[in-house]
């Protein structure tokens, strides 16, 4: 193969962008929303799950290797992709063309939301320090406050809907660009299945927000024993 390496790199980078959207970034979103939705069952299951994750061995390596680097890569490649295309959804008004534009828009919104979301949680943890307390009480305290204002509710609703839409439509895009869904019917049925999955994830996310809003139970700071 005497092809210039630039072409191979281009192919690999775009394939990786597609793949990282599913694992680990998409998988993280599913786990994150599922674990958080334990809050709707009670504070204690939520606290247990959050602390279990926070006490994983080599947590910092897992966070960097499986969340931060893939997420940053996916975002940067995403902005490159946004830069390459030029929407014409108002001229050619077809459903898929609208979804094409929405995919790019929600990607950018989710990126901005994540900066905010990490600023108030991970950022706060880094800057203020959680002292020697477990992570869960610290986070619950932040979230209890955050979801009491309507601005907080609006920001989180937009963020969650953007992320779940981007993920479910992105899984469809992954299945098409990797050639898993080929025929017209297969692509349509796949879209229905992924839309349903997106709705479930959205429901989980918004239910958690609502639970925090309506039922802000304060918790005692605990120390890992």
């Amino acid at each position: 193969m005497t092809k210039p390496a630039k072409d191979e790199i281009h192919y690999i980078l775009l394939k990786l962008h597609s793949l990282t959207g599913i694992v680990p970034v998409g998988a993280f979103l599913v786990i994150h929303l599922s674990i958080n939705s334990l809050r709707t069952v009670g504070v204690w299951p939520f606290q247990l799950a959050v602390d279990a994750l926070n006490n994983l061995p080599f947590l910092i390596l897992i966070e960097i290797g499986f969340i931060y680097i893939p997420l940053l890569f996916h975002s940067l490649m995403g902005f490159y992709i946004i830069h390459v295309g030029k929407t014409n959804m108002f001229r050619y008004r077809y459903q898929r063309n609208w979804l094409y534009t929405m995919q790019r828009l929600t990607g950018a919104i989710t990126f901005l939301f994540l900066i905010y979301h990490m600023g108030t949680t991970v950022g706060a943890k880094l800057w203020e320090g959680k002292h020697h307390f477990e992570a869960a009480p610290f986070l619950i305290d932040i979230l209890n406050g955050e979801f009491q204002t309507w601005q907080g509710i609006v920001v989180y609703t937009i963020g969650i809907v953007s992320a779940t839409f981007h993920f479910s439509n992105g899984v469809w895009g992954f299945c098409v660009s990797w050639g898993i869904l080929i025929g017209k019917n297969a692509q349509r049925n796949g879209a229905i299945v992924f839309a349903a999955m997106g709705l479930v994830l959205t429901f989980l996310g918004l239910a958690t927000v609502l639970e925090f809003n309506m039922n802000p139970i304060p918790v005692e700071a605990t120390v890992a024993g």
């Binding site: 072409d7 191979e8 192919y11 295309g85 898929r96 050639g179 869904l181």
Partner: protein, 278 residues
């Protein structure tokens, strides 16, 4: 095959007579009725474009080409100024050559099958925006031809020696290939694609469809890997954004999105194969 009975033949002829008669009536009573055009013009490649309005006498069943011919005979703008005639490309006049593709009332399509009676006036005519303009409504679609060459959109036959008869093809493949082979390189799919632009190297749906067409041919599949390698770089299959406008605007109803997804599958396997075998 169903035979046409004498009665239905009679009905058919009557219908034609009626149509012709109504046409004459329209023609007689509406000679002062006009068709208004708003045409985007450009004198030479790279020069600035400008709009001019034209009016031609209404004729029933007129298409855009017949109106452009009318303007060519009498190149006078609506304001009464005589200008250089509007130039355009056309050839077959039955939507199989693709050369009269232009943007009509904002949507890309062939001018020959764009009937004036079905269009809102003033009818806006623009050259395609994703190809360099040669003059007025003529564009240069060399890029499409270059892409066909890049992906070897042909089947190699005998070289220096006879390679014998080709393999037989399953009829299901033949049927699939027939639909794909209807591509006339008109450029509609590329004009409507949000990923295709004048300043990038995206190959677009038409090219990927050709890769699938020739890879599906038993003899053509001998060059399968070369074709796949050609679409696995910048401007290749990974640059598709799945907006799927291509399949909506394709005048030949080619399942372009199916072709794109299939090339996605073929290139994914090829990539894994390149990683593990080469």
């Amino acid at each position: 095959m169903r035979r046409r009975t004498a009665a239905s033949k009679g009905r058919h002829q009557k219908k034609r007579r009626d149509l012709a008669a109504s046409g004459e009536v329209i023609h007689k009573t509406m000679t002062d009725k006009k068709i208004t055009f708003k045409i985007k013009r450009q004198d030479k490649p790279g020069s600035p474009s400008y709009w001019q309005n034209f009016q031609v006498a209404y004729k029933p069943f007129a298409n855009i080409i017949s109106c452009l011919m009318e303007i060519q005979r009498n190149p006078t703008t609506k304001a009464g100024k005589t200008v250089a005639p509007v130039t355009w490309d056309c050839n077959c006049l039955e939507e199989v050559c693709g050369s009269c593709t232009m943007v009509i009332n904002g949507k890309v399509r062939q001018a020959c099958t764009a009937l004036v009676d079905n269009l809102e006036q003033p009818i806006a005519l623009e050259p395609m925006t994703k190809f360099p303009v040669v003059r007025d409504l003529q564009v240069n679609r060399t890029r499409m031809f270059e892409n066909l060459k890049k992906v070897k959109a042909w089947i190699d036959i005998d070289g220096s020696h006879d390679i014998g008869e080709g393999a037989i093809m399953p009829d299901s493949d033949r049927a699939k290939r027939y639909v794909m082979s209807e591509c006339m390189t008109c450029g509609c799919c590329l004009e409507a694609c949000p990923q295709f632009s004048l300043n990038n190297s995206f190959m677009g749906a038409a090219t990927f469809n050709q890769v699938r067409l020739f890879n599906l041919h038993p003899a053509g599949s001998m060059n399968k890997e070369e074709r796949l390698d050609a679409v696995m770089g910048e401007g290749g299959i990974t640059d598709c954004g799945n907006a799927q406008v291509c399949v909506e605007v394709c005048p030949k109803n080619i399942p372009l999105t199916e072709s794109i997804a299939d090339i996605g599958r073929q290139t994914s396997w090829q990539f894994i194969k390149n990683l593990l075998v080469k």
